[in-house]
Amino acid sequence: MQTRKKYIFLTFLASWLLLFSFGGDQLRRFAFFSARKGEARKIWPRWTDRSLLRSFADPEELQSDGDPSLPSPRARRAARLNVYKNSRCRMETCFDFSRCEKNGFKVFTYPREKDQPLSESYDKILTSIERSRYYTPNPEEACLFILSIDTLDRDHLSGQYVRNVDEKIRGFSLWNGGRNHLIFNLYSGTWPNYTEDLGFDIGQALLAKASFYTENFRPGFDVSIPLFPKDHPQRGGERGWLSQDSIPPRKKYLLVFKGKRYLTGIGSGTRNALHHIHNGRDIISLTTCKHGKDWQKHKDTRCDKDNVDYEKFDYQELLHNSTFCIVPRGRRLGSFRFLEALQAACIPVLLSDGWELPFAEAIDWGKAAVVGNEKLLLQIPSAVRCLHPERVLAFQQQTQFLWDAYFSSVDKIVHTTLEIIKDRLLPHRSRSRFLWNALPGGLLVLPDFSTHPGDFPFYYLQQGSSPSEKFTALIRAVSPSGSLSQTILRLIQAVSASQYCAQILVLWSCEKPPPPRGRWPQTTVPLTIIQDRRK
């Protein structure tokens, strides 16, 4: 009897609890509603005369928006050139497109001067340009100019700071107020406020700069590049660290950071807060106060304990074993950490408000990084925890693709910069965002060939299309005599007999021009003869 009673009691209790737990949310809301009873929730009124309301503009006004009395478009374009200069430069006002029309996109580098030592990184940049398909040694046919003065480090406390740049530039006959010049820079400004001033007048030159602040960035004109270390490989570059069998995608730690905590000055606000999210289990956020010569002077109560914890973990080990990596601003907005995390497939969580992300004109960072807000640091743990595993895996894979396609070597960084600028010259012949952000990446897709994804086999899977069943036969004729030999004729006939042949192309690489149309055999499939112009 007793047990039975107990059972019945328990059953009811359990069902009641169940109902409560499912309906609890509604109950809570009910309580909330009853508190605000009387003031019913309001939506935008459905006006009784809404169908009688006037349109915001009558059709006539919308369709004839062009007062012929206005200044002529040509005059307006000319006037624009004088207004939008320097900090308001855009391609259409500060760049001379006519230089690129005749010879296409050609890049010239100023001859290197013997007495002027170059930093390792700038030397690599120049080498990359000289190895690029767009390089020209002839300034006459150039469209873009690159200085041989090392402008990478413009922190005047640095040893690599080059003095009197203004003076040197004035001596260049090609400078032309900076028109069509591209200036590379990794570090600008110095303690205490690290302004983005380069310390010389860049005139109308384009700026390819790391740690760009959005307000200084001239959209469609400047290029934001990543900060890369001086031992970044010239070419090739290391692979990403994501192994193929990284499923499930979550690693040992959820979120990590190990780095300096600035006790004072710019950027200290962000870095000072990072230790708050450390929980010692899956979120590791370690900071050290040891930074600069006089850190002891500013040190606070946390410092000693933090410094001890800091030594307990290894940076590389954390990088390898974490799903997300915090990439906060340093003194400047960008950091080496960004590329390191990208390579390690540790999804970057950016805390760097106002940073114009590297190559953001082309790259869709929303797919590879979590763009956080410095003010909302405490929301980051729950935000990244809520991400679904498949989303996490997609993020990881995108980091690997981007690393491999655009960042793993100086060559790739420099060539991406050049391709982005080249794409602006002919907007109708440029890569869409899709081409930049899908495997194998923008550097391998030449718009000179095609801008249509359907023309490239690597997008078949994504586009849901499949290769055609037919083939195109390419015959290269190198016969020295320049006449149609029997072999070629027989080959053409044999190939065109195949039911899978779609067309035949003959690349005529002989000294003499190809024979006239009539002498070629009649084929059922189209036959195109291309004369090789080079040889």
């Binding site: 009641w16 006006w47 059709p59 062009g66 259409e92 193929q244 106002g354 965002r433 495997l439 359907g454």
Partner: protein, 504 residues
């Protein structure tokens, strides 16, 4: 479960009769209390639903003319001019948005008022049909909240869609006296026709301090990237005319220009194109000799031929969208609706929703100076790509241009994506038509992976006939430790490769 149920079946029914009266009463009381409790809980669970859907949302039935009138003193404060350096992290208060599991921003709409100046003259049109539609759409969306204290974004009911129909200074004063204005922080204004004669600014001239602007016709100099939102100029014509979707493919004309008030300089350049390329280029103009009853906005003429607008847009592959006094043109919406590929000629124009839409897939952008080369440039676009663009153009219209609702929701979604970037809508969701399902079924196992991690090389051996030496090569090559795969290409058509595992 099986066990429990059999137990109840055999012993359950006999439970009550076998009990003593005292116990029985006790049990019945207990039963009914619990039952009542259950019913009450059940009711609680479903009741609030009904409250939410019907009785709690009150719908006012009033006329626009009955809204309260607010008099603005001549010396009431004026907001500062828009700050060009504003970005989300400097001029927007994210703390108001908070973290919520739904990752949706909350949008509050101020109630409608009629504003008059000291002399009782109205400040502007109370509300236009389009702005009413836009606010209705926001109010019906899941972004909406009626609680001003929980809101993250505020939308004034002051209609600034068309700058020409309002008084600039007084409208600014009306904005400044809004209850939560606070220097325009977290306020969103919608404007489609900015600027006025003679210089036609590319952004709304009404001083608005830090407010975000969703504007149609931004230029690269007035658009605050990552802060403002570029929106289309809505074309009310699309409400009146229904253009059924046409299958992509060749059309009668190659290039068509349908705008009426082109600057004479542009028109002469276009006419030169027509003279050069003949029939395939059609440059239309306003009709001069129409009989009175026919509205001029629905007709276009070329010499004596009369065409229906916008139907004629469906007859062409490419449709020219040239800038007028303003950069944003309503004709862009008509062109997209017709599934015609827009050729956008408006230097420095920020295309609608350019933050998320990939316009290179739906349009051709040509610099103003290149109008004479337009024909050859367009000839260079492959046919397959044109068809893709036609489809994409129509899809953009359906998803983001079609109605004020579409425009409003896309704008809010863009702002939402900035505040909750980790929950943002992806490129594919913005740009791929829903019919294209292949891209959304990304099984994580088949996400593209970067070159295989396995070290080593693949050996390819071309062979014709000499089996013996082939085998020797295979045995030699396979000794190399870094070999990962061996591929033999058999080139002999007359003979099959040797069969059987033993041989190899």
């Amino acid at each position: 479960i099986m066990c429990a149920s059999t137990k109840y079946n055999t012993r359950g029914p006999a439970l009550i009769p076998r009990m003593k009266t005292k116990h029985r009463i006790y049990y019945i009381t207990l039963f009914s209390i619990v039952l009542l409790g259950l019913i009450a809980t059940g009711m609680f669970q479903f009741w609030p639903h009904s409250i939410e859907s019907s009785s709690d949302w009150t719908v006012e039935k009033r006329s626009v003319h009955d809204v309260p009138v607010i008099k603005l003193p001549a010396d009431s404060p004026l907001p500062e001019r828009g700050d060009l350096s504003c970005r989300m992290h400097t001029c927007f208060d994210v703390y108001r948005c908070g973290f919520n599991p739904k990752t949706k921003i909350k949008v509050y709409i101020y109630s409608l008022k009629k504003y008059v100046d000291e002399y009782g003259t109205s400040v502007g049109n109370t509300i236009s049909r389009e702005y009413n539609e836009l606010l209705t759409a926001i109010s019906d969306s899941e972004f909406y909240t009626d609680d001003v204290n929980r809101a993250c974004l505020f939308v004034p009911s002051i209609d600034v869609l068309n700058q020409n129909s309002l008084r600039i200074k007084e409208t600014a004063q009306a904005l400044a006296q809004l209850s939560r204005w606070d220097r325009g922080m977290n306020h969103l204004l919608f404007n489609m026709l900015p600027g006025g004669p003679p210089d036609f600014n590319t952004a709304l001239d009404v001083p608005r301090d830090r407010a975000l602007l969703a504007g149609g016709g931004f230029s690269t100099w007035t658009y605050r990237q990552g802060y403002d939102v570029s929106i289309p100029v809505y074309s009310p014509l699309s409400r009146e005319v229904d253009l059924p979707e046409r299958a992509p493919g060749p059309r009668r004309y190659f290039i068509l220009s349908s705008q009426m008030a082109l600057h004479p300089e542009y028109r002469s350049e276009l006419e030169a194109l027509q003279a050069e390329n003949g029939e395939s280029v059609l440059i239309l103009d306003k009709c001069t000799n129409l009989s009175d009853g026919i509205p001029a906005v629905h007709k276009r003429c070329h010499k004596n031929q009369v065409f229906d607008y916008p139907q004629v847009l469906q007859e062409s592959m490419f449709c020219v969208v040239l800038r007028g006094a303003r950069l944003g043109q309503a004709v862009l919406s008509d062109v997209l609706q017709a599934g015609c590929v827009p050729v956008i000629i408006a230097d420095s124009y920020i295309l609608p929703f350019s933050e998320v839409l990939d316009w290179k897939r739906a349009s051709v952008v040509i610099p103003e100076e290149k109008i004479p080369e337009m024909y050859s440039i367009l000839q260079g676009v492959p046919q397959r790509q044109i068809e893709e663009m036609q489809r994409q153009a129509r899809w953009f219209w359906e998803a983001y241009f079609q109605s004020m609702k579409a425009i409003a929701l896309a704008t809010l979604q863009i702002i939402n994506d900035r505040i909750y970037p980790y929950a943002a809508i992806s490129y594919e969701e913005w740009n791929d038509p829903p019919a294209v399902k292949w891209s959304s079924v990304n099984n994580p196992l088949f996400l593209p992976l970067i070159p295989p991690q396995s070290q080593g090389f693949t050996a390819i051996v071309l062979t014709y006939d000499r089996v013996e030496s082939l085998f020797r090569v295979i045995t030699e090559v396979s000794k190399v430790p870094s070999l990962s795969k061996l591929l033999v290409v058999w080139n002999n058509q007359n003979k099959n490769p040797p069969e059987g595992k033993i041989l190899w």
